[in-house]
Symmetry: C2
Subunit: 229 residues, 2 copies
């Protein structure tokens, strides 16, 4: 699976969240980072529509990554949508070329996620606020992924940041709805190959847990066969 991350952030070079997410970049060969502001030098009038379409064609998972500005993406991503996602390229019923791909959203909010609900300070949920993207996915015949919301990054402690790091890596690189064994294998692989942690206690423990679980599964299967036989 190949992933394209389209980043829209007018102040990307000053963003702690974006720097943090970008640090994952070294771990993946099949992920393309594409920052609209950086790659077009803050002038979206230079947008190369054919190049953008080519990028979309070459990837299976498309992720929009942005800070939430007035309850949607910054203007640069909207300009990208308005100009790149032409009718014949996009509409499912016109044999658009995005059909069957996945659309993910990674968005950061300055407020607590808790504010985003009926009666809360913001009164609307992120599921409601992001409906225009879900509607776009539907129109294009794409699978809409559960958005990854990053709230109040600047107040996160190390443990929360570590969890975010793992969640983000999974979001951009693994298939959706992995089962437990797949998740464990993925985690062992990530820790082994990208963190030089071969002799680490965490990995050892994960491997032991996994072996125990595999044993249990095998025993359950044997018992079932006995019953059925």
């Amino acid at each position: 699976m190949k992933t394209l991350i389209i980043i829209s952030h007018p102040e990307i070079l000053d963003s702690a969240t974006q720097s943090f997410l970008k640090a994952t970049q070294k771990s993946f060969d099949n992920v393309t980072w594409h920052s609209l502001e950086v790659d077009y030098d803050n002038d979206l009038n230079k947008l190369d529509i054919e190049y953008e379409k080519q990028l979309l064609k070459e990837n299976d998972r498309i992720i929009f990554q942005f800070p939430l500005y007035w309850y949607s993406a910054p203007a640069s991503l909207k300009k990208w949508q308005d100009e790149v996602l032409t009718r014949t390229f996009t509409y499912k019923e016109d044999e658009g070329l995005l059909k069957g791909k996945e659309l993910g959203i990674v968005t950061s909010i300055g407020n607590s996620l808790d504010h985003f609900q009926a009666g809360g300070f913001e009164n609307f949920s992120l599921s409601e606020i992001l409906i225009p993207y879900q509607a776009l996915a539907k129109r294009a015949g794409m699978m809409f992924m559960k958005p990854l919301i990053i709230d109040q990054f600047i107040y996160m402690n190390e443990e929360t940041k570590y969890n975010l790091y793992i969640s983000y890596q999974k979001y951009i690189s693994t298939k959706q709805d992995m089962n437990f064994t797949e998740k464990t294998n993925w985690l062992i692989d990530q820790l082994t190959n990208h963190y030089d942690l071969n002799n680490n206690d965490i990995i050892d423990q994960l491997k032991i847990n996994k072996d125990d679980l595999d044993d249990l599964k095998m025993q359950i299967n044997l018992m079932r066969q006995d019953e059925e036989g």
Copy 2:
């Protein structure tokens, strides 16, 4: 009441809907039409933020008028939002200057309105799709007006267009939730002052209806007084 209409439409000069709406312009002294693309010569990098803020301060009803592109306004209006609506200018809790004003939306869609519901071709209602604007109104302490949706303008017959014309005039110029007498007075005033229809049958009929209703109201009031006395 003073109204500011902020129009965002990348192809405004070719738009039949926008030309039609613009024809109302002559009828109003207290309405300002402000087309982002025309007034900034298609280059929103020239946005004059102080001028925009001044316009907002001077008006009581702010209307965003645009064709729905990917389930929200075109990129120009988003850029306007991102740059003009700064935190201290806008946030209710920071004593923003939009508090108490009204926010209206006039949007045109190419599809039938009937497609916009659960299970329909678009699967989401316009109420859901426009939530980001409702959330903005809430954050700014503005009253969110029921949006005026214009669907499939090019297929409208003359009568439907006439009704749209009246609805639009009311949307931009009258207070919300008028009672019947207020609506009738407004309609007589519009027809008399802006259409040279002084001897017209419609106006005569409206005036007769109104007099009949006034009589009925007075009689009901007298009966009530009798009962209470």
